[in-house]
Amino acid sequence: MPDDELARRARLGDKQAFVTIVERHGPVVFRYARRMVGAEDAPDLTQETFATAWVAIPGFRGDSAVRTWLLGIASNHVRHHRRSLARHPVAAWDGDEDERTTPVSRTPEASPERQAVDDAFRTALESALADLPPLQRACWVLRDVEGLGYAEIADVEHTSVAAVRGALHRARTSLARRLEPWR
């Protein structure tokens, strides 16, 4: 069933239709949350995003894709999260600690040496990503990991297409420089 039909039903109170939306778009919202607030807070932020979406979907007119609309809600929660951290600072996020120890889905035949290289690359990538300014990180994740268009990213991040292009260029340049030893 297409997203707009699911959204129509959810708008009118069909929770099962909304659950299908959660199942369909949960992974992308979670990936975005994870990159923006870290592994520890990503599950809560994802829950908040879908809880907000359920309440707000009666006002969703379908002007944007459901995925873009959900990511926009997630982006608002990321901003709120950042403001909360500024008011109540805790240890700064420095990449995803649990991902450093969580096995990636690997091919069974991957050698220990190959796994070690992959883990080290992943650690370097996490560190490089964590050092990017939030808008650059968001633009890179949404464009290069999730495949959103520039206009969609601008909607999600409440900015202009030109700002997205600029942030994405700077993000790619920074990441390529940081990961150069892995080339």
Binding site: L12, G13, G26, Q47, F50, V55, T102, D118, D144, E180
Partner: protein
């Protein structure tokens, strides 16, 4: 993105965080199913007296009934309540299948909406008790037009 290194980086992240979603999914679904939309309550009746139901429940039931008509898709349903919370009117916005008779559809929608409200609230609602305002705000391809 033409840089192989950055392509590898993006691919790495896609693979990693799918595992994270699998772990987070049950809690996200559980929380989602618990969230309630705020809404007014409407008065209904059963054998032991009155009860109140959220208008969101009534809207969902009306949507289900109207969507059961072959040529109609419900777009919005809203309720007007009198003082005291009794149902006074329903406003139903629909899309109708291209080529269908709007006059006939209007009758069907009104009947289905009023019947669903009666079933939900436990009272037989006559046309002079509950007005069903209908807005046809779109058309769509129907079953016989290849949709």
């Amino acid at each position: 993105m033409t840089d192989d290194l950055l392509a590898r980086a993006a691919s790495t992240l896609r693979e990693l965080t799918d595992d994270g979603w699998v772990r987070a999914r049950p809690a996200v679904l559980e929380r989602t199913l618990r969230v309630l939309r705020g809404s007014d309550s409407v008065v209904g009746r059963h054998a032991d007296g009155e009860f109140r139901a959220a208008t969101a429940v009534l809207v969902a039931e009306v949507r289900r009934a109207v969507d059961g008509l072959a040529t109609v898709r419900t777009q919005r349903v809203s309720c007007s309540l009198a003082d005291g919370g009794t149902l006074e009117a329903l406003a139903v916005e629909v899309s109708v299948a291209y080529g269908s008779s709007i006059a006939a559809v209007a009758d069907d929608v009104r009947t289905a909406a009023r019947h669903a409200a009666s079933e939900t609230l436990g009272v037989t609602l006559q046309p002079d008790q509950v007005v069903v305002d209908l807005v046809v705000d779109d058309v769509h391809r129907g079953p016989d037009t290849g949709a």
